[in-house]
């Protein structure tokens, strides 16, 4: 049986000091596994977006990355407000972020489209008031 590696992180809500740390650690692992730079880059961009979203817009959550011989699967789960209209949210420039968040340089409405551009597969399950589950797959 071939091996797989799983990394798990808690994403603390609204703590900008820790924003991006999980992605950074996963990226380091991918480099240690000797994965192709292009694969690392694709994963990095999509994963970072998902991590930041969970921290800034959803009050935190968890990030789990699973790596095996075929793919990298990153699952980001939060118990935040959820996304009401997913189709709308996937459009570039669409954002429900508050003025405060926009002032911090986030909430430009590029997160989800950017995630989609870099992931090989992107699944988003979301329910208003219950949270969002983002699954990013990048094939090796």
């Amino acid at each position: 049986m071939s091996k797989s590696i799983q990394l798990h992180f808690e994403l603390p809500g609204n703590d900008l000091n820790l924003a991006g740390e999980a992605s950074s650690k996963v990226k380091k692992t991918l480099n240690q596994l000797g994965l192709k730079p292009a694969v690392v880059k694709k994963t990095a961009v999509a994963m970072y977006e998902a991590e930041i979203n969970a921290i800034i817009h959803a009050g935190g959550g968890t990030l789990t990355a699973t790596i095996d011989q075929e793919s990298i699967v990153v699952v980001v789960r939060d118990q935040g407000p959820g996304i009401a209209d997913l189709e709308l949210a996937m459009q570039e420039g669409y954002s429900t972020a508050s003025e405060k968040i926009r002032k911090m340089g986030f909430g430009a409405g590029m997160g989800l489209p950017n995630m989609k551009r870099h992931a090989d597969l992107l699944e988003i399950e979301s329910a208003v008031g219950q949270g969002t589950l983002v699954t990013i797959t990048v094939f090796l």
């Binding site: 590696i5 950074s24 380091k28 596994l33 000797g34 730079p37 292009a38 690392v40 970072y48 870099h118």
Partner: protein
């Protein structure tokens, strides 16, 4: 020969001075140093020649290998290429032409300012940004330590690098050609010497990544040349005609100079290796796509903060400003070769030094082991094992170049466990000698086996 080229480094260790302390291992941005047998060891393939260890070593045991001034005598016609940062080393009573004239007095036949090369590179960069669709943000290749950092730690950003020749190479090629034509000299009779603020530039010349062979024949330490120049420099000794470069080129010496010269609003300048790491990480995460050009310099203050400079970067910056302001009054025309003539002829390859194993399955197994070992380690990152952090030690153990007992805390635990066992064993007596024992019933928990 290839091996030499692959692993040439300017930054090396002075064995006698090294005390085996842990200052350098902590500062190295690529975790390239380990202490073994009371001496620092540089892992050659990881070193990017940034010079952080040169700066931090309290015993000055790290040195940059540069060429000896005596090398000038090997050539009939000697050309000096002062880096723009050189001007910032002298008191402002001396003009730029005085400094250049002093170079002619210490043994050079000609001076060609690298600042002029910088202006040519700036013009070529502008053209390239205009004409070709480059991956954004474009990352400057002016700092060779940053290029090597990308090669080792950020391979996905290799495509973002600006693959144009450095100002030093451009200056060397132009001045050599001109001298050969003017004085009818053979190429081997001309010696082109770069006066360098850093070790990384020495490596650039001895083991270039962008081309087969450098145009520069020797690299002199700025400190060495400074000493010779101060001995002969006099006020008003140089004629203004020696000043060939404009302010835009001189400004390259400090952080932001290259970016400002491009005239784009959308540039970002970052200096200091730790700051550079942060910015490269952001670029890799796709966060800086609105930026057109990134100027990243490994030393604080840019080349003015180079490890081979004389003055600290802040003083040098103030001094350089005088030269910049003065040069502003003078218009300089730059003839630019076609930008494609300045393109690299070789491309750099990813150096996957962080990889644990070539086989993914094995790499995963090692990673698991690494995590397990890391859990056991105290997490103090004390460096007493010779590795920069507990995690780095765990990594070394799975790579087979260190042992768990290299950790003083784990070793102590083991010794303690061993001591306890010995105490226990010590309390046991062979039954025939055990006085406290009668009819098979033992005291102190000792029992007949």
């Amino acid at each position: 020969m290839l091996e030499v080229k692959k692993y040439f480094h300017s930054v090396t260790l002075d064995e006698e001075k090294c005390r085996g302390c842990t200052n350098c291992i902590k500062k190295c941005p690529t975790e390239a140093i380990r202490v073994r047998k009371s001496k620092a060891r540089i892992i050659e393939e990881r070193c990017i020649d940034c010079g952080e260890c040169l700066r931090v070593c309290p015993y000055h045991a790290k040195k940059a290998i540069t060429d000896d001034f005596a090398k000038l005598s090997e050539y009939r016609y000697k050309i000096a290429l002062p880096a723009p940062s050189f001007y910032g080393q002298f008191k402002t009573t001396y003009s730029r032409s005085d400094i250049l004239a002093a170079l002619l007095k210490i043994g050079f036949d000609e001076v060609y300012e690298v600042a002029r090369g910088a202006e040519i590179v700036t013009e070529a960069t502008k053209k390239l940004l205009q004409l070709e669709k480059l991956k954004k943000p474009v990352i400057s290749s002016a700092c060779p330590a940053v290029v090597r950092l990308i090669q080792v730690r950020f391979p996905s950003l290799i495509d973002n690098l600006l693959k144009l020749e450095s100002p030093m190479e451009v200056a060397a090629a132009i001045s050599r050609k001109k001298a050969a034509e003017t004085y009818k000299l053979n190429a081997s009779e001309i010696g082109v010497f770069f006066i360098s603020p850093c070790a990384a530039k020495v490596t650039s010349v001895k083991a270039p990544y962008e081309k087969e062979k450098s145009n520069v024949d020797g690299v002199l330490s700025m400190q060495d040349v400074y000493l010779k120049v101060v001995a002969v420099i006099e006020k008003n000794m140089g004629s203004e005609a020696l000043e060939q470069a404009g302010y835009a080129g001189i400004r390259w010496a400090g952080s932001g100079g290259e970016g400002l010269a491009l005239g784009t609003e959308q540039f970002l300048a970052v200096d200091g290796i730790q700051n550079v790491l942060t910015i490269l990480e952001e670029i890799e995460n796709g966060q800086l796509e609105e930026v057109e050009f990134v100027e990243a310099l490994a030393c604080y203050g840019g080349c003015l903060g180079g490890p081979l400079t004389v003055q600290n970067a802040f003083v040098a910056k103030t001094r350089l400003k005088k030269h910049i302001d003065k040069a502003k009054n003078k218009a300089v025309a730059v003839t630019v070769p076609r930008h494609d003539e300045l393109m690299w002829t070789l491309d750099i390859e990813h150096r996957p030094v962080m990889k644990l194993d070539d086989d993914l399955d094995k790499a995963m197994k090692k990673l698991e082991e690494l995590e397990e070992i890391n859990e056991k380690l105290p997490g103090l990152d004390c460096g007493a094992c010779g590795a920069p952090s507990c995690r780095a030690l765990a990594e070394d153990i799975v790579r087979g170049i260190a042992n768990e007992t290299d950790c003083v805390f784990l070793l102590r635990e083991k010794v303690r466990a061993l001591a306890m066992e010995m105490m226990e064993l010590e309390a046991k007596m062979p039954p025939v000698l055990d006085k406290g024992q009668t009819n098979g019933k033992g005291e102190n928990g000792t029992r007949r086996g």
